[in-house]
Symmetry: C2
Subunit: 337 residues, 2 copies
DNA sequence: ATCTGTAATGTAATCGATTACATTTTCAGT
DNA sequence: ACTGAAAATGTAATCGATTACATTACAGAT
């Protein structure tokens, strides 16, 4: 393996100069720089990244902890993160947890071991105290998820507002009995989506009913089960707002199974606008998060933190959008291609 | 940061002994070992991974190149890889290419730079010559995809056989005009799925027709488009075998759009058994690959290669399974929950 | 008690880039 | 031409674990 001394010898300079050419080209005279670059070329020199990491105690790698990479909302955010990261010559290590908190903690070891320089969390499950300790010790950004109390750099949408809009849309279709299948209640995001739903009901003077609110865990299966529960109520809902698209699809399939037709007998709205929402039949009306952009911004925030650990922990709120498809019975209908 | 010398000092031994306790415990006397372990505990010592990587010129990290991580078939394989990897204390770096060959080559730099110790490829797009050079220079395993000519450790299923079965299933339902929407023809896997289809037609004395074979690229969109093409033929097919589930769903939706009913007017079989195939309406009949197991085995093969670069490059072929759902009009019908 | 061979432990070089500090070069200003 | 400051380059220490080689401890044989 060619190393820096070899280049230095050939170019007739010191290793310090070679190193500077690579990391601080402007601090080296043009003439010398060209000599060095030529030698690098001639020897086909590639710096030893591991030595560099060791010496600088940095890896140019960041960790992204994802609850479920197979969910397109997360893979899109990751795509955004990667795009911005690779521009700045950063690598992205994916920590897929399948919604298992233990695995999250496992991945955090990578931070402690300095195998990664920073962290983007797409999951809000980690304990508050640990989170608040983390954000003081390492560059940390939350994306999509968020927490209160602790001040952490965050990119997200306004979940209360978008859930309000989703529910309002159902109300405007004339529905009065509207169910909600929520996400797991240990996450603030789930809580806010529920709040948006509640606020919409209140705003339009619709009585709340505890029976109509069911807790799921963002999986298709819980959407299916909870919908079954809702359907055996003495007075079942005529519409359902599910806290994500997978659960919405679960709810739709449960209703179909019971012989109901969506949207005629039951209107459904989801959340996230995952790829299959437009492929599914009926197309799922949903709230679209600007996922790729969210990833871009999350990475930009992290880069700033990496550069200056004291950089302000701002929260950036992006706009979401209601996408109307067939599942809610609106007359405005998108094609499913 | 506590380092090895600190532990050594406290335990009253040399750093060599501390290092041995960590890497070769059996070479250290029980008495000494305990002293050292106690000191490690007491000081809460964590070895500097970067220094270790540098010194050993190994990172205990492997790279997995994936065409599209949002596709559940790939995320399942990755899950299998990760499970086996983490047992052996290996990290998995995910290289998602979105089917872009350029990005594949980018990721290969990680190998050259020794940032990863080995590679599992889930894509068969890389140039033969490069592949054959790679496999001599680095531990390399192919999973799901495979190539001929070059001898590389591989885990896969028998795509010809399973496609034969899929097509045969349609034939046994009485279909005589069966279309095929293939994968991109630069991949051997697509080619084999086409071969299986052709062999089944031949076996059952059904005339082939070039018109009925359309090339897609494994995306929903091409499935949709190619099905549209098939439907405007003077004599359109009554059944279609698509080389993956996404294209099968595209085909189904295209037919629905034209007012056809699946499976009554058109029977469809897909490939891969992605998660959404059972959620889709109608449930997609498909070939299930043992994806997680495939990942496990791929990682095991790679570990063997990492251990001994001259380890035999065997190809392991796993069993696939035909999963019958509603889309093919069989009377044996699975529920879609 | 002495010798021998093996097991256990220690000493110190090593991996290769980075960088604090030292030295030399350059050049503007007189 | 000379001075002094700034720019360019060089010297050598440094990061922290690993490991080849050297030394010591110890058990068993004589």
């Amino acid at each position: 393996m060619v190393k820096m001394v070899d280049v230095a010898r050939l170019a007739n300079v010191s290793t310090a100069t070679v190193s500077r050419v690579l990391r601080n080209p402007e601090s080296v005279k043009e003439h010398t720089r060209l000599k060095v670059l030529n030698s690098i070329e001639e020897l086909n020199y590639q710096p030893n990244v591991l030595a560099r990491h060791f010496r600088r105690n940095k890896t140019n790698t960041i960790l992204v902890i994802v609850p479920n990479i197979a969910n397109t909302i997360f893979s899109q955010i990751v795509r955004g993160i990667e795009a911005t990261a690779s521009e700045k010559n950063f690598r992205v290590l994916l920590g897929n947890t399948n919604r298992d908190v233990e695995k999250e903690y496992d991945f955090l070891n990578l931070l402690h071991q300095r195998q990664v320089d920073g962290l983007i969390l797409l999951s809000g499950k980690i304990d508050h105290d640990i989170l608040s300790e983390l954000k003081d010790k390492y560059p940390l950004v939350l994306a999509s998820e968020y927490v209160d109390d602790v001040e952490i750099a965050t990119v997200c949408i306004d979940n209360i507002k978008s859930s309000f809009e989703a529910t309002e849309h159902l109300i405007k279709q004339g529905h009065k009995r509207i169910g909600h299948i929520s996400g797991p209640m240990n996450s603030l995001l789930s809580f806010d989506r529920l709040s948006g739903y509640n606020q919409a009901l209140k705003e339009y003077h619709i009585d709340e009913s505890k029976d109509l609110i069911r807790e799921g865990d963002f999986s298709y299966e819980t959407g299916y089960q909870q919908m079954c529960e809702l359907l055996i109520l003495p007075e079942p809902p005529t519409a359902v707002f599910a806290a994500n698209d997978e659960m919405a699809m679960g709810a739709i399939n449960a209703s179909k199974k019971k012989g109901l037709s969506v949207p005629k007998d039951l209107a459904v709205v989801g959340f996230d606008n995952i790829r299959f929402s437009s492929i599914f039949d009926p197309g799922v009306t949903t709230i679209a998060q600007p996922a790729v952009e969210m990833g871009n911004i999350a990475m930009e925030l992290l880069l700033q933190k990496l550069d200056d650990p004291d950089f302000e922990n701002k929260r950036i709120t992006l706009k979401s959008e209601l996408i109307i498809r067939e599942s809610c019975g609106s007359n405005i209908v998108e094609t499913s291609q």
